[in-house]
């Protein structure tokens, strides 16, 4: 089975966000594989181990993203591809989907996996957009995947309910929490990963004209939410605190 995983390098969830000059400050921040993409990588490895084939992880970005690709290879992916977009300005979900689809269009992928959302941009668009551009079906926020021949049985999370459905390969799926427990790279895995192929491509290699993937959206400002005033911790007898709280919620906060 020919399996591809779309991976994004993101800020560590614990990082404090600092905005300067209209941009999120990245200096010194820790970067990780987007947590939802880890589920996708793990699932890809499990599918390969059960059905045979090869797992290729793909990302876009600058050379820094090699680190996340090596981590995916250490987990067990077979090959990695970095599409270098360092010099391309103005990329958004439209651009990313077009670039990835352009790379994937002649790869005859049976299964493409991605996280259902990236924790930085948080739009969740790229996976389904790629599927649509490739003309294949997609299923988002999956929590279980069973492949039998070219038939695929899936459970997906729909706002807490579980939808059970059936579809066919080729297919793109996006991973939801609960799909699996992503493994940690083992030491032998890390050693092996160093020798696994990591291909670096430029947009030119994909015959993509920068103008054709120019962003359709423009971020005009990035800012931090207004700092919250320290809250009021109530004092006194517990019964009085409860009375005071209900009063405050009705008269000061006016939410009840």
């Amino acid at each position: 089975m020919n399996i591809y995983v779309l991976v994004k390098r993101t800020f560590d969830t614990e990082e404090k966000i600092v905005v300067s000059g209209g941009h999120i400050q990245e200096d010194g921040a820790e970067f990780i594989i987007n947590p939802y993409d880890e589920y996708a990588i793990e699932e890809a490895i499990q599918v390969r181990d059960a059905h045979g084939g090869e797992v290729t992880v793909i990302t876009m970005g600058d050379e820094e993203a090699e680190k996340q690709l090596r981590t995916a290879l250490a987990m067990g992916a077979d090959k990695a591809v970095l599409i270098n977009t360092e010099d391309v300005e103005d990329l958004d979900q439209f651009s990313a989907a077009h670039i990835l689809a352009e790379y994937l269009k002649d790869k005859e992928a049976d299964l493409i996996l991605a996280g259902n959302v990236a924790i930085d941009g948080g739009s969740g668009q790229v996976g389904p957009r790629v599927a649509e551009l490739l003309g294949i079906n997609y299923v988002t926020t999956i929590t279980n995947l069973e492949i039998n021949g070219d038939t695929v049985a899936i459970k997906r999370d729909v706002e807490g309910d579980t939808e059970e459905l059936e579809t066919k390969l080729p297919l793109l799926v996006t991973a939801q929490q609960g799909l699996n427990e992503p493994r940690y790279p083992s030491l032998p895995g890390i050693m092996k990963a160093k020798k696994k192929p990591l291909e670096e491509l430029e947009l030119d290699d994909l015959d993509i004209d920068e103008d054709d993937v120019e962003a359709k959206t423009e971020t005009v400002e990035i800012y931090l939410p207004p700092k919250k005033e320290a809250g009021k911790v109530l004092q006194g007898d517990l019964q009085d605190q409860v009375k005071e709280l209900v009063g405050l919620l009705r008269t000061e906060a006016k939410v009840i």
């Binding site: 668009q125 649509e132 579980t162 931090l224 009021k232 517990l238």
Partner: protein, 323 residues
């Protein structure tokens, strides 16, 4: 002035609030133009009147047996047919499971930009600027769409719906669409979410953490939530400990909620949990540990045992609300 298409969505037979919020967003973008609501289903016509009362100028329905359940193929075909007929300058969906699944497909088909998870709109028409949270709500961005078609999804509970005008009627028309070749077959939907109020749309959320200690411990939280017409949520800790189902989890993984009132009981306030609720309008923290992180984001805090405080709160609300 422009024409805006709004996808209305229902759940268990009634329209979701986010549909009315999407109409309000559509009105704002249209700059006094026309808002056309779209209803898809196997008996879509019944809800048209309510959409009119909430501000839709026209309603287009597509009825087809294949639209009884949502699939991206079925809804995609129906909606593209409506878009072709109406030629809207803007499109608004709710940022719901359905909206998140379908909107990128439509955006890719139309080859346009899409701003997902919008919480506020500044300006109107071509000048509209869309505000959305990034980095799990730790920052916000203002985004403009360069295309002629402005396509957004709006986060539930953030954009106020227009006041309901009983008797305000929308012109209703139906479109017949041939829906074929569904690649996904829905076998079953297993309902796990608690009855009643949808967590992501609830105006009041009462959430419990590890401090709730057991599944039974959630009973007083549920009682308070029911009294206030709200929903029960939980931290990852409480879900990991099996006190409640993961469908109730609020946080970076899990649901993002922005209710008017968020009551956190026995939740320490890990950064991943805050990512799911810190943009709530008013936050109340109840925790035995005065140093708990949750007090830093809370508007009001009570240091105490939640098993004492929550029942007292329920009693006090019951007394006050019955007056």
């Amino acid at each position: 002035m422009s024409k805006v298409l709004v996808l209305a969505e229902s759940r268990e037979g009634s329209l979701r609030n986010v549909s009315f919020e999407a109409i309000a967003a559509g009105k704002k973008i249209s700059g006094g133009g026309e808002v056309v609501a779209v209803l898809l289903g196997d008996a879509a016509g019944e809800q048209a009147a309510e959409l009119g009362a909430f501000g839709a100028d026209r309603v287009v329905t597509v009825e087809h047996p294949h639209l009884k359940q949502y699939t991206s193929d079925g809804y995609g075909q129906a909606l593209m047919a409506v878009i072709e007929q109406e030629n809207p300058e803007a499109i608004v969906f709710g940022h719901t499971a359905l909206g998140k699944d379908l909107s990128p497909k439509i955006a890719a088909k139309l080859q346009v930009g899409l701003v997902s998870d919008v919480t506020d709109i500044e300006g109107e028409g071509d000048e509209a600027i869309f505000i959305r949270p990034i980095y799990s709500g730790k920052a916000f961005e203002k985004v403009k769409l360069k295309d002629d078609v402005k396509f957004i999804t709006v986060r539930p509970n953030n954009i106020a719906p227009l006041a309901k005008e009983e008797g305000r009627a929308a012109e209703v028309s139906s479109l017949s669409v041939d829906i074929t070749n569904l690649r996904t077959i829905i076998k079953e939907v297993v309902r796990k979410s608690t009855d009643g109020v949808d967590l992501s749309e609830a105006k009041v959320v009462v959430a419990g953490g590890r401090g709730v200690k057991s599944a039974d411990g959630f009973a007083p939280l549920k009682e308070l939530a029911d009294l206030l017409g709200g929903a029960v949520g939980a931290s990852r800790g409480a879900c990991d400990a099996d006190y409640v189902d993961y469908s109730l989890q609020i946080g970076q993984t899990g649901k993002v909620v922005t209710p008017d009132l968020y009551i956190a009981a026995g939740i320490s306030g890990a950064i991943q949990h805050l990512a799911g609720m810190s943009n709530s309008k008013v936050i109340v923290a109840i925790n035995k540990d005065p140093e708990a992180n949750i007090f830093k984001v809370a508007d009001y805090g009570i240091v105490g045992d939640l098993f004492e405080v929550i029942p007292m709160l329920t009693e006090e609300f019951r007394a006050v609300l019955s007056k």
